[in-house]
Subunit: 457 residues, 2 copies
Amino acid sequence: MAEHSITVESTLQTLLEAKKYSTLKDILVTMNGADVAAIFEETQETKIPLLFRLLPKELAAETFVEMNPDLQELLIKGFSDNELREVVDELYVDDAVDLVEEMPANVVKRILAQADPQMRREINEILRYPENSAGSIMTTEYISLRPNMTVDEAFARIRRTAVDKETIYTCYVTENRKLVGVCTMKDLLLVKDNETRIQDMMDRNVISVHTSDDREEIALLLSKYNFLALPVLDSDDRMVGIVTFDDAMDVIEEEATEDIEKMAAILPSDKEYLRSNAVDLYKKRIPWLLLLMISATFTGIIITKFENALAAQVILTSFIPMLMDTGGNSGSQASVTVIRALSLGELEFKDLASVVWKEIQTAVLCGVTLATACFLKIILVDRMLLGNTDVTVLVAFVVCAAMALTILVAKVIGCTLPMVANRLGFDPAVMSSPFITTIVDALSLLVYFTLATALLF
Amino acid sequence: MAEHSITVESTLQTLLEAKKYSTLKDILVTMNGADVAAIFEETQETKIPLLFRLLPKELAAETFVEMNPDLQELLIKGFSDNELREVVDELYVDDAVDLVEEMPANVVKRILAQADPQMRREINEILRYPENSAGSIMTTEYISLRPNMTVDEAFARIRRTAVDKETIYTCYVTENRKLVGVCTMKDLLLVKDNETRIQDMMDRNVISVHTSDDREEIALLLSKYNFLALPVLDSDDRMVGIVTFDDAMDVIEEEATEDIEKMAAILPSDKEYLRSNAVDLYKKRIPWLLLLMISATFTGIIITKFENALAAQVILTSFIPMLMDTGGNSGSQASVTVIRALSLGELEFKDLASVVWKEIQTAVLCGVTLATACFLKIILVDRMLLGNTDVTVLVAFVVCAAMALTILVAKVIGCTLPMVANRLGFDPAVMSSPFITTIVDALSLLVYFTLATALLF
C-alpha cells in the first residue's frame, strides 16, 4: 500500500508542476481525505492552498480534518471568510472542537465567527468539559427518535437528518431529553411490520456514560461491548452526545502511547515525533532525568559507606553493573506487566495479595535459574577462562546470593508500587522502570555489600 | 459503573443460592454478553453450566464468546452434542475460529463435528492463514451486492441475509467474486430513487487489503480512515472476507501490550496477568534476564581492566550507578519514542538522518543541563554537605563530562538501533530499554574510566 501511494504522489507532484489542474482534480476526487492530507504534507507550502481549492466541498472538509495543525493554520490564514465558512459548515462538531483546541486565539476567533450559531453554541458547550473527559471527545450530532414513532416515521426522520450525523446506525430514543432506549439500524431494517412503534422494539437496557467520565474508560467500554457508539449523559441524566468507535480507537492508541512514554520516564505529549523539535523533546525528557539523577545520590552514598570493603576487594566492583541491571530488569518486568493489566482494567487493588504471591513464586524461579547460571559463568569464564584469581568461590557465592535476593526484592517492589499508586489515585505508569530501578539499585547494593562484609572479611 | 455491576453480581449470587431460577433468567436477559461472562467468571464452577442453560440462544452465544478459554472448555465438556450445536450455530465465523484456536484437539474435533458443513469449510479456510495476518482475523460473513441490482433489490437482499452478517452497514459490490465497489447503508438510505442501480451509486475507489497483510497494519488503516470494516482479498484479488472495527480495536490493544512487554524484556503472551501462573511468567521473563545478565559480563571486564585506577580512587566507584542509570534512562527515552512512532507508522527508515540529528540536539540540551546540575550537586552535597574531601573539583568535572558524553552516545544508539532493526525486518521493540541499557552501560564506563585515567592520574 505504501508503494502505491508513493507512485500516486509523484504523479501528482509532476502534474502540479505542469499545472495540469483539471487532471489533478480528477485524480484527487477518487481519493480519501486521509490520503489527500498525506499528499499535502509532502507538497511545497505555497502550492497547498491552490491544491486545496481543487477539492469538492465534502472532500475538502475530510482532508482538512486529517491535516496536521500547522497546515490547517496555514490554510485558514489564506482563506477568505467565505471559504472558511464553507469548510467549517462541513465539519462534524467534534472535529470543529479539535480544530478550535489546536489553533491560536486569533484563528479561533475567525473560525467561531464563521460557524453558524447552532454549531458555535455546541462547540462552546463541548469546550467547557475537562480534558480527557467523555464530554470533551463526544459529538452532539446523533439520531434521536421518540418512543411513540412508528418504524416508518423513524426512517423518514433518519433520512431527513442523516446528512449531518456522525453515525446513523445506532439511534437513541429520548423522552424529555432523557434516554429511554436504543435501536440499531439493523433492528429497524429487520422489523416485520413498519407500523411497529419504536417503544415496542427498542432495547431498554442502555449502557451509557457521563460527560465527566474518563475517556480511557469509555474507550475500553466501547471495545468491550463492540458498540459503534456510546451515549453520553449530563449530570441530570439528560442525553447530550455520543462517543463513536473511531474516537475510541484514537483514544486507545493515544493512551497506550502515553503509558509507554511514562514507563520510559518521558512526560506525555500529543505531538508526533517528527513534528516535535529538539526543545519539545528536551522539555518532555529532562524532568525525569534530573529527578532520577539526583535520586541516584543514595546509591552513591551506599557505595561510599562501603568504601573500605571495596578498596580491599576491588573485584567486587566489577559485579555491580550486572547486579544493578538484573535487579532493574526484573523489577521493570513485574511493574510493566502490572501497569498494563491495571490500565486495561484486568487488575484491581483487591488482587494485591495474589499478585505479590505470584511475583514471589516467579522471583524464586528466576532467582534460582539466574544465580545458578551466574555462578557457572563466574567460575567458568571469569575465574578459569579469563584467569582472574581474585574471583574465589566465596566471591561467586556472595554475588549469586545477592542476585537472587535482589530479584526477589525487585519483583515484589515492582508489582506493589504501581498497585498502591493506582489505589491512591496516582497514575501507576509513573511507578515504572526508571523509578523502580533507582530504588532497586540502592537495595541491591545494600544486600550485596552486607553479604560481602559478613562473608568475605 | 464498576459499583453498579458489583451490586448486580451479589444479587445474582444470592438468587443462585436460593435457586430462584426464573428471577435469575429475567435479570440475565436484560444484560450484555460481556457482563454475563464477567459474572460467570466470579461464579462457582459447578454452577456455571446451570446458569448458562438459563440464557436464551443468542445471549448464550454472545456470552460464550466473551468468556475465557478455561470456562469455554469447561462448558463444552459439559454440553450435549445438541447444546454444542446450538451455540456453534449462533457464533460468527471469526469467533468460531478464535474458539477453535484456543481449544485442545479433542474439543476442536467435537466443535467441528457440530458446525454445519458451510461453517466448517469457512473455519478451516481461515485457520490456514498465518497467525497475525488479515486472513486470520477476518470474517467471511459480509453483505455482497451485485452491480446491476436496484436499491430496492439491495434492501431485499440485505433484509434476507442480515441476521448472519457481522456488519450490514458497509455492503460490498462484487462481480465474478471481484470487488468492484462499496456502498454504505447511509448511501442506500439517502438515495432519492429506489430504482437507482447499485453500479450508478457505489464508490468505485475501494481501499482493500490482502489476506497475508499484517493485522497491525490493517488495524492502523481502519483507524486512519475511520471505516467500519475493510474488505480482504485473496492473492487473485477475489474478495474473501472483511475485518471489522471491533477486531481492529482488539488488535490495537494487543499490539500495544506486546510492544510494552517487549520493551520491558518480556516475551509477549496473550494470557491475562491474573490467568498466568508463576511458571507462565517465568517462561516469559527468564530468557531476556539470562541474556542480559550474561551480556553484563562486558561491563564487568571493563571495570576489571581499570581495577588499578579504581583501587587508587575508590570515590570513582560511587558515581558508577548514577552514570549508568542516567545513560540507560536517556537511551531508553530515545528508543521508546522511536519504537512507538515506528509501530504507529509515523516514522520510516528514510527519516533516520533527521531523527539522529534531532536526538543529537536533544542530547546536547539534556547533557548540558544534567552535567551542570550534577556538578552543583557533587560540589554542594557530596563535598560540602557530606564533607567528602575525596570529591575534588577535578573528580566532579570528570563525572560530569562523562555524563554528558554518555547521554549523547545513549540517545544516538537509542534512536538508531530500533530503526535499523526495523529496516532489517526485525521487531524494533526488541531493541529497547534493557538491550540498549546494556550497551550504554559498557560505553559509559569506557568513557568514564578513559577520562578519569587521562585527567586524574
